[in-house]
């Protein structure tokens, strides 16, 4: 049987995937890239979490849910962490749960693109839809990101190669510029390659803005090669619709001036008569959705503290920072592997707390957890809506039954909330 699917391998949420399923097994995956195909295959892997575990012992789902509720109820200061790999409906339930247990709600977004997504929303900037980029953008800039390694189909599915209304020749109708600190694979499809030293993004944005508004600076100020820079400027001046896709490269050493400088440049481009926009290249498939759900429920994007009853927020108090201080006694981790990805100090804080892991795989975090609640693979075994990097909401189309005792994130959260 051939079924259509939406890929949850990254925030592109490719919706043209075709899967051949036979007897509950995947026979072939068409059109998904290596990351997407791997995600679908992972539903059938040996590392799968299939049974609820308490202290390494197999228990019934009811028992595990009861224990999770008890741990959260008795917690002095619980953290509910993850959410970027869960559907919007689950994030909403997570926010309710955090309110109920006076917990702290956060996830990888606070150290990733959460700020970019929030910043644009604060300024009232709505990014264009990727389909509009496909149809109209005649200059695509990849800045501090490397989609050739992270979002494999970005260029072929939307931004560079497709033939659109105003871009009838596809790649021939567009200019492609890559800005990075080193040569990257994405540069292989670029017309302009601007290599800058780390941390000079804001300086480069200012330099470009200066060129457009008539106050010339020196390319050396941004550490960029003169010839490359001016050929890029010439091409930029000829463009009618510029879209900048930017990555974490713009946050060198946690600095936010790169992102802010970029949005200043977008304003200058617009005032010089060029249509322009910027879209962050969020990684996890529903990071945008997680931030948007948090904003609409509380007015805050992430790192939301419900300990005082009412939600409060401070940009400086993220899960990573608070974990490093050993602040949390119970941590519910959903669809994330902080033990493998967080800095050492935060990891030692995490190790001191009791962890409830909700995940489809036995990650490093799940292996060290007090309690494991096996989750279904989103988009493969469970549905819901997810939000693409451009803010477009897509309905997932699951095509397998949840394996073993696994359940959708939503179902698990509902069961825990009910038990509370």
């Amino acid at each position: 049987m051939r079924v259509e699917a939406v890929c949850t391998g990254c925030s592109l949420l490719c919706d043209d995937i075709v899967v051949e399923v036979k007897g509950g097994r995947v026979k072939k995956v068409l059109h998904a890239c290596a990351i997407g195909a791997k995600r679908i295959e992972s539903a059938l892997e040996a590392e799968r979490a299939l049974k609820p575990l308490a202290g390494g012992r197999i228990v019934s789902l009811d028992e595990a849910v009861k224990q999770a509720a008890e741990m959260l109820r008795e917690a002095r200061r619980p953290l509910l962490y993850g959410w970027c790999n869960s559907v919007n409906e689950a994030v909403r339930l997570g926010l309710e749960l955090a309110r109920k247990v006076n917990g702290f709600f956060d996830g990888p977004m606070s150290v990733c693109h959460g700020y970019s997504i929030w910043y644009a929303r604060m300024k009232g900037i709505r990014p264009p839809k990727l389909d509009e980029v496909l149809d109209r953008a005649d200059h695509v800039v990849y800045w501090g990101c490397n989609p050739a390694e992270s979002h494999h189909r970005h260029a072929s599915r939307f931004a560079v190669f497709p033939r659109g209304e105003k871009t009838p020749e596809g790649v021939e109708s567009r200019s492609v510029t890559v800005v990075d600190v080193r040569p990257t694979r994405t540069m292989r499809i670029a017309n302009h390659r601007l290599i800058i030293p780390p941390g000079r993004d804001a300086a480069l944005a200012k330099l470009i803005a200066g060129e457009l508004s008539g106050s010339r600076g020196k390319p050396s100020e941004a550490g960029v090669a003169e010839e490359e820079f001016y050929s890029f400027i010439e091409s930029l001046k000829r463009s009618t619709y510029v879209v900048v896709f930017y990555g974490l490269g713009l946050y060198s050493a946690g600095e936010r001036s790169g992102v802010e400088g970029l949005y200043e440049l977008i304003k200058v481009l617009e005032s010089s008569g060029v249509k322009a926009a910027a879209i962050p290249m969020s990684g996890h498939y529903n990071m945008v959705g997680a931030v948007e759900e948090a904003l609409s429920a509380t007015g805050y994007p992430y790192a939301i503290d419900f300990s005082g009853g009412q939600p409060s927020f401070s940009q400086e108090q993220t899960a990573v920072k608070l974990l490093s201080k050993g602040e949390f006694d119970v941590v519910l981790v959903i669809g994330s592997d902080p033990l493998a990805s967080m800095p050492r100090q935060a990891v030692s804080g995490l190790k001191k707390s009791k962890v409830i892991a909700v995940d489809y795989q036995l990650s490093l975090t799940a292996r060290a957890a007090e309690l494991v609640l096996p989750a279904a693979v989103g988009g493969v075994e469970s549905g819901g809506t997810a939000t693409r990097m451009d803010g477009e909401r897509l309905e997932l189309k699951p095509f397998l039954e949840p394996a073993g005792c696994s359940r959708a994130d939503e179902e698990i959260l509902k069961m825990v909330a009910k038990e509370l």
């Binding site: 043209d16 995937i17 075709v18 072939k28 995956v29 068409l30 059109h31 998904a32 890239c33 290596a34 990351i35 997407g36 195909a37 791997k38 496909l134 050739a148 390694e149 494999h152 189909r153 260029a155 072929s156 599915r157 939307f158 190669f161 497709p162 033939r163 659109g164 596809g170 790649v171 694979r185 994405t186 292989r188 499809i189």
Partner: protein, 151 residues
């Protein structure tokens, strides 16, 4: 590639029965141009031509391989980005949804991504093949991982 129609003709039934719609010599030329298939000649599949059929298959095989187009895809390097799928003019002409960046659902395309890596499905559709013989290198030029090589 210097495959002569006469070399092919020698192995055909040479009856000019025209069951394929052509004389045997014209059929030989069309085989090389890939306008007809061996299956179009019913006589060839009679037992007495079995040996000739095997020789013909061997003779025509290089046309199906990378030799004639000089196009090679190393699947172990491929990340399934689909740049080749969408940039390939032959793919787009066969499956118009590919022009919009969608995966190629037609069975007739040159490239398609299966299980996370690009596969050559119909090499003979490549524009480098006869009759077009265009020195097109789009797939090679835009491959992120240098998995495609044209030599």
């Amino acid at each position: 590639m210097s495959l002569s129609p006469l070399d092919v003709y020698k192995l055909l039934p040479k009856t000019n029965c025209k069951k394929c719609g052509h004389t045997c010599l014209a059929f030989a030329t069309k085989l090389i141009l890939r306008e007809v298939k061996l299956e179009d000649c019913p006589l060839l599949f009679e037992d007495k031509y079995a040996e000739n059929l095997a020789k013909l298959r061997e003779l025509l095989e290089p046309v199906m391989d990378t030799y004639e187009t000089g196009l090679k895809l190393d699947e172990s390097k491929c990340t399934g980005c689909g740049n080749c799928v969408v940039v390939c003019p032959a793919n787009v002409s066969v499956d118009p949804s590919v022009a919009r960046g969608m995966g190629a659902n037609s069975e007739e395309v040159v490239f398609r991504v299966e299980d996370g890596v690009a596969k050559i499905v119909n090499l003979e559709r490549c524009r480098r093949f006869p009759p077009d013989r265009i020195n097109c290198r789009m797939c090679e030029q835009y491959c992120y991982s240098k998995a495609i090589e044209i030599y």
